[in-house]
Amino acid sequence: MKICILNGSPKAGKSTSELLIEYLMTFIKGNDVVIYNVCKTDLSKVQFSQIQSSEVLIFAFPLYVDSINSHLLRFLIKLENMGFSNKNITVYCMINNGFYEGWQNHVAADIMKNWCKAVGLTYGQTLGIGAGEMLPFFKDVPLGYGPNKNIGIALQELSHNILSLDQGDDLFTSPNWPRLLWKIASSFIFWYPKAKKNGLKRKNLYSPHSQI
């Protein structure tokens, strides 16, 4: 099966979207898979034709301000303008957000469904994952176990549908980790240490910026 994975993360370093693609790859081994980051590289005509001739398109991207980041949005419009002569393509999405609840990705999922209607492709399924910034901390935990339990189960269902070209209901999930602990950890394990590396104290993070 010809599968094209489009990474829509504009992040400079390694992104959660990239990690989710790595996870998914373990479920779809043996297929003809190409991966492009559409926010970091200008695709060539050959690469666009690969997208247009694939059987499956998988978009992996982060949620920005409740929806699709502007870079990926421009790319979607470009794809629509180029058109798809081959309509036998099923589209799947893996969306991650910084909030805890995976279902906060539902608007972005709806936008992707509307895009599919506009270009005439079939929408397969959404996997919306919350607490995306937390996932790299658990990258050494096997999928389906511990904090990666829910994500492993959801990826299994998504990959099953991908490989059989089936459609499925939206899957919204979060790490198997209490929300309160996640909320506390986000400050003390994520934001404060990052600020400290930049020479900032905790109180500096709350400062209003007055310059207009």
Binding site: S9, P10, K11, A12, S15, C39, P62, Y64, V65, D66, S67, I68, N69, S70, H71, L73, R74, L76, I77, F99, Y100, E101, Q104, H106, V107, D110, I111, M112, K113, N114, W115, K117, A118, R179, K183, S186, S187, W191, K194, A195, N198, L200, N204, L205, Y206, S207, P208, H209, S210, Q211, I212
Partner: protein, 169 residues
């Protein structure tokens, strides 16, 4: 201060809104805007200010002065246009990186305490019913995250009709 974010060309804007008041701060596409790169610099490096230097780096501070925010945007698949979305993506310094729980959802805490009203005017030739429904959900979600209590939303299938919908800015 009232702020207007729009994606119209200079000529379209002048033609549709020739009498716009001087006290409206207008954010339009100068062709220089860069995409948010998800670096979180606006939260953990230069809190409240974006690290990208393209003339759109002070959206957090600007929004902190806003009483009413008006958005005029072409509707794409139920989303804002890329330029308007770009501006909103660059507006997260108005928020803090930290979280709170409201209505059983996690949201970012706010950096500023100003209360904004929001008016969103979408335009486009063939906005489908599904796209309108998505756009309504999107604006509602934006309001939850930017602590907006009062908002209005409209759809116009032409710029002329849009002009009639935007009665106050």
């Amino acid at each position: 201060m009232n702020i207007l974010i729009h994606d119209l060309s200079y000529e379209q804007f002048q033609s549709l809104f020739p009498d716009i008041y001087n006290d409206v701060y207008i954010i339009s596409d100068t062709g220089t805007i860069q995409h948010c790169i998800g670096c979180f610099g606006c939260w953990i490096k230069t809190p409240g200010k974006c690290v990208l230097k393209d003339g759109y780096g002070n959206m957090g501070a600007l929004l902190s002065k806003s009483e009413k925010l008006t958005i005029i945007s072409q509707c794409f698949y139920g989303s804002y246009s890329p330029f308007v979305k770009n501006v909103l993506d660059r507006s997260i310094p108005w928020l803090l990186p930290f979280f709170k729980i409201k209505n059983n959802e996690t949201h970012h805490k706010r950096r500023y305490q100003n209360k904004m009203q929001l008016a969103v005017h979408f335009y486009g030739n063939n906005i489908t019913t599904a796209e309108k429904e998505t756009a309504k959900k999107l604006v509602k979600a934006n309001c939850a995250n930017f602590y907006v209590k009062n908002y209005e939303i409209s759809f116009s299938n032409s710029l002329k009709k849009l002009c009639g919908k935007v009665t106050t800015i």
